[in-house]
Symmetry: C2
Subunit: 409 residues, 2 copies
Amino acid sequence: MTQAAGWLGIRPDHQFGLAALPYGSYTAAHHAEVYRVGVAIGDSVLDLTTATDRLMPGRAHLFRSGSLDEFLAAGDGCWTQVRDDLTRWLSEDAFRSAIEDLLVPMQKVSLRLPFTVADYVDFYASEHHATNIGRIFRPDSEPLTPNWKHLPIGYHGRAGTVVVSGTPVRRPCGQRLLPGAAGPEYGPCTRLDFEAELGFVVGSHSHLGEPVSVGRFTEHAFGVCLVNDWSARDIQAWEYVPLGPFLGKSFATTVSPWVLPIAALEHARVRPPSRDTELLGYLTEAENWGLDINFEVRLNGYLIATPPYSSMYWSPAQMLAHMTVNGASLRSGDLYASGTVSGTEPGQLGSLIELGWNGTAPVTLPDGSARPWLQDGDELSITATAPGPGGTRIGLGTAMGCILPATPA
Amino acid sequence: MTQAAGWLGIRPDHQFGLAALPYGSYTAAHHAEVYRVGVAIGDSVLDLTTATDRLMPGRAHLFRSGSLDEFLAAGDGCWTQVRDDLTRWLSEDAFRSAIEDLLVPMQKVSLRLPFTVADYVDFYASEHHATNIGRIFRPDSEPLTPNWKHLPIGYHGRAGTVVVSGTPVRRPCGQRLLPGAAGPEYGPCTRLDFEAELGFVVGSHSHLGEPVSVGRFTEHAFGVCLVNDWSARDIQAWEYVPLGPFLGKSFATTVSPWVLPIAALEHARVRPPSRDTELLGYLTEAENWGLDINFEVRLNGYLIATPPYSSMYWSPAQMLAHMTVNGASLRSGDLYASGTVSGTEPGQLGSLIELGWNGTAPVTLPDGSARPWLQDGDELSITATAPGPGGTRIGLGTAMGCILPATPA
């Protein structure tokens, strides 16, 4: 691996080595009004906006706005070429003098929402999570609804409240029906939760009326990010029948600032869990798009869960095919998330409602405090790593948020 | 009314008289690549992009893109001033020479989607519609869910598949469970439906974490349009438990090309239906935002329903306050729709599932044909009018779509 480390000398176990190269958007401390596209490399950010001006002027327009929007729309041929060029610039000595001054220390930049979110869809692709939620909310029924193993269940969320990691999350107020109460009350959420998810960022659009088949996943999906689908369980429980989650989810969704290209996940691809229900043709995959990504969830710095993405029942290619089977078109910037990642073991659950079994068995932190639900001031962070080349691991960065107290009307 | 008709001489009963002045986006037949903002006036469209260049250069930047996006974001003070100026230009002789050449016959323009839809939310605000749907889908339960009279139920829809009137709608394919079948099948929708709704277009954004109270409705809501929330009832029925409608709705949503300012509806404001359930404070209104708008639904030209918007239980100010009570922010271009408008009478139902009672009592057209559901080739159009000044009526234009046959994979 020493050769691949190149002139930068990134240590092989760094999450942002040459095999990762995720893209983001940032402002430098001394130029807060100037947005740039950056690439995370080691503990630095490469100013890709300026680097393309110097080394790839034909593509410089893709990065000039400082957002990933134009690059996402440029298509998979362009994504491959830019990644190939970046790898050469950062590993071959010949490029060192041209770009070395464009490496900014990570701690000197402010990371922004990397792209304009078009539509946001949230799936429900973990069998273990869906089973746990079914057991908690519908203890007298089969935990999985009859449709669950036939299609990846999903719904649209609020694109306008997707925020970048580090954005504080204010505890929402709203209606909830307290146990035994005759009617709903208004007040701050009493059951605030997180959901650790993987997000898929759509690059190339598709046309209205033309489904995107499972085999065309990599033509349209550009990359992945981490997602925290913050959830107000009390608001959600009262509102969600019959049309699904709305205000219980729409107050904020946190994403990691770095979008890791799908191409960086080639060593993470695994066969999804075996299916015990035959799938309709449009959901049948020839390729393996299970992903061996290990999540870590920390509350105030304490590791509370390690959800394994490899346990997800539905693959991202299947989600994309299902989302468009009715002819719904994709736009560049569409974001779809996997739903909570939960494994089979008690320590592998990706939400507090599961870890604390709906508040009945609160999570106890090493400092002795208990968490049936999130408290004001809590900091929740999600990180994840995936296998890279030669036994290394590459990282997806962090999706972090702190809870601010509610401000009731 | 003769004076108000001004130099244009619009007849007082025209839907686009001086009291209407809705905004849209168009291309002229001979300049298909040039987008302009237009104002409907009589049988013409005023080229507002050029008119502001001539008469209001300080605001010309708001209309230069040819979309309403910049104007929507400019805020309610600007909306009022532009409407006042437009009224003067189109009624006072002094302005005739400056703008007369900017009136384009309506039939010579192509109308486009008037604004970039940010987030799209669909409510369920008609008590009669929700009751009918409850009776059809859950015949053994109370038709309204326990939350229905406490909050306006809503969910997020797909913003990227909102299309302008006239766009053909391809019959969607997808999974549905046929009666008596052991498992789902893939195929074209067999129960294609429309839903006649009113849409509210958000102009001014709001900040994350800051609810918008009912009293601030007109600061944020710019105008209204007509909406057809096309629905695939078989796909919807199989997918919607537990997370709500998804592919049964996301293949297309048609909007009328003209956005009528809220200010044009001052004569349409009425008290909403009386409430039999006490509301929480954040939903309590001091002003009346019921709207006396009469809908007409035509199938292949035959009038099949006349839903009265005045019967809607939840007002648009209440929907806006509820949508943001959890701190969710608004963006300029957000669109929220009322849900199907249905009255109490058999001829006042705003969907085929209600008119034909889930296919059991198909609508018979004057040509003798029956419609349990929409057929390929059917043309469905929604129009509406509201009271204007002095006993006149103003129009909201048309939301029309034709059904194309499915193209199964």
